[in-house]
C-alpha cells in the first residue's frame, strides 16, 4: 500500500484539532497558574523583604557614615582649639616678658634723670601743634 502523500491525507476534523489544542491549552494554563503562584507567593515576597533589608542596612551605613563624619569634624575642631590655645599661651608669655622689660625700664635711673627733658620736649611739641592749628 502506498504511503499517503500530503495531497491525499484528509485534513483533521476541526473538533479533533480543538481537542488537541485543548490538551496544549490545559497544560499551558496549569503551568502558568503554578508559575504565577510561585512568583506571587514566594519570589515576589522574598524580593520585597530583601529590598527592606537593603533599605535597613543602607540607613545603618548612612548613620555610621554620619557618625564618622561627626567624629572627624570634632577632631578637626579639637585640633584648631589646641592650636589656638597654644598661640594664646605663647602670646601671653611674650606679653608678660614685654611688660616686665617695660617695668624695668621705667624703674631705671636714666629714665628718671631724663624725665625733665622729656617733659620740656612734650610741652614744646604741644605749643607747635596749637600754632599750626
Amino acid at each position: 500500500m502506498p504511503h499517503p502523500t500530503p495531497d491525499t491525507v484528509d485534513p483533521p476534523h476541526p473538533l479533533a484539532e480543538v481537542l488537541r489544542q485543548q490538551a496544549e491549552l490545559g497544560s499551558l494554563m496549569e503551568e502558568n497558574r503554578a508559575l504565577e503562584a510561585y512568583l506571587r507567593t514566594q519570589l515576589a515576597p522574598r524580593v520585597q523583604l530583601r529590598r527592606l533589608e537593603v533599605e535597613r542596612l543602607q540607613e545603618k551605613v548612612d548613620r555610621a557614615q554620619q557618625a564618622r563624619d561627626r567624629e572627624s569634624e570634632q577632631a578637626e575642631l579639637q585640633r584648631r582649639l589646641d592650636e589656638t590655645r597654644l598661640l594664646l599661651s605663647r602670646t601671653r608669655a611674650e606679653l608678660a616678658q614685654v611688660h616686665a622689660e617695660n617695668c624695668a625700664l621705667r624703674a631705671s635711673a636714666s629714665w628718671r634723670i631724663t624725665a625733665p627733658a622729656r617733659a620740656a620736649l612734650e610741652l614744646l611739641q604741644r605749643l607747635r601743634q596749637r600754632r599750626t592749628g
Partner: protein, 509 residues
Amino acid sequence: MAVDGDSDIAVVVTCSNQGRTIEAALASLQTQTRSADRIVLVDNDSDDIHTRQVLARVRQPRLSLEHSQPRGLPEALNRGAKKSTSRYLGFLDGGDRWEPAFLQRAAAILDARPEIALVLCSPVEDGQISPARPAGFTFAEVLARGLGMVPCLMRRSLFESLGGFDSGLGDLATDHFWLSAIEQGFSAETIAQPLARRHPLSSVPCKRDRATRQWCEDRQRLLSRHETMAQKQAREILAVSERLVHEEKQRRQALGQEMHTLEATLTQLGAQVQTLEVSLRNSGVQPVDWGDLARVAPFSPLWGAERGEHIDRYYIERFLDRHRSDVRGRVLEVCDDTYTRRFGQGRVLDSDVLDIEQDNPQATIIADLARAHNIPAESYDCFILTQTLYMIYEVADALAHSFRILKPGGVLLCTLPATCRITFEHGGLDSGDFWRFTEASVRRLFAAIVPAQSFEVTVCGNVMVCAAFLQGLALHELPADVLDQTDPWHPLLYCVRAAKPGSAALDGP
C-alpha cells in the same frame, strides 16, 4: 413581585473550604449600593474545620445558611437559588468579592434592557502579576477556555428555563449552563470594569484548579454535551483555541520574564546586602543590633516572674475576661482556683481544684487528666484549663476527659502554647512537657471531640512577643502596641472556648 428598583435580588454565595475568604465575600455584599433582599450562603461540602467554624458563626442581615453536603457545586447553586423567589439571581463564589457598585450596575442593565438575561463580570485576582485576558461570553470562548463560576446576576427566568445547574456535571455545570444559555439564544452583557475581585488564596484550597488531564476530559465532556452547536461553530472554536494557546504562550513568556527579573533582582539585592554588611563591619557596626538580646541564656528562666507579669498571662487573662460569664455554677480549675475566684465573682456556686500532685494543699481532686475516670461525668459547668495540656503526653485522652466531666452546655476555657521554653518545673527534660501546638493541630484535636461549631480558636502573639517570652522578659518590658498585633505564622499561644453540646447546664448562678 417587587417593582421598584431597590428590591427583588437574591444572591447565592457558595463556600467550599473557603473559611479564610468567605467573610470578606459576605462583607462585600453588605456594602453594595443596591443591596440584595436575600443572601443564601450555601456550604458546598466543606470539610475544613476552620471553614465549618467560620460558617457556624456567620451572622448577617437577610442571610440564611444552607448545606449541600456532599452533592457538589451545581447542587449548592441550585439549592441556594431555590431558597428565594426573587426576580434576579446573583451568584458569588466564596473566594470572590464584589465592589460596592456591582449589583447596582448589573441590576440597572437588567432593569433597562429586557433582552438581556445575564450580566457577568470577570474577577480580577488580587496581586496578580500577569493576569489572563478576561474571557468573552461567546459559545466558542466559553467552550474553549471555560468560565467557571464568575460573578453574575441573571433573571430567574433564565435559571428556570435551563433547569438550573446540571447536578451530574460537577464543577463543569457552570460552563454547561453558560453554553446552554448561549445555545438557547439568551443574551448576556459583560461589565468591562473590574467590579469583582478574587482573593489569591481562593485558588489554593478551592476545587477550581484542575490537573491538565482532568481539564482535557472536562472539555471533551462539554464538547460532547454541546456537539451540534460545536460542529456548527467548529472553525470559530478552533480559532479561539489557537488564540488562547497563543495568549497562554505569551503569558508564559511574560511570567518567565518576570521570574527572570525577580530572580536577577534577588541576586542583585543579595549582593547589595553583602556589600552593606561588609561596610558596616568595617565601621565596627554589626548588621543586626542584638543589643540587650545578645545573650544565649534568657534574662529570666522563670517566665520573667521576678521581673514582672508573665507575657502569656496577658492573653490568657484577657481571654478569660472575655468569657467571664462562662465561669459559673460548678467550676473546675487546675492547680489552684485563682481564675475561678477572679473571673467567676458571684456566679460560682462550687469549685474544685484538680492536680496530679498529691502534695498540693489546694487540690480537692487528685487525678491524671488523661486517666481521670475517678471524676464523675457531667459534673462541671466550666473547666478552666490554661497551659496544661502540653504537659500531658496523652493529650487527646486528656481533652476527652475534659469534655466528659463537663455538663451538657458546660464550657471548657482552654489555652495551649505555640511557643514557650521547656517547662522544667514539672519533671524536667524527660517528662512533664510534651507538646507545642499549631492552629491546625488545635482545631483537629477539638474537632475530634466536639462539633466544629461548638468551639472557637483565638490566635495570640507575634514574633516579637515570642522572642520576649523566650527571653523571659516581663509584660511591661514590651511596647504596649506590640501585644495586640497578631501574626498567625508566629503565634505565642491559642485560646479555645469550647461548649459541650447539649442544653445549658444552668439556668442562672
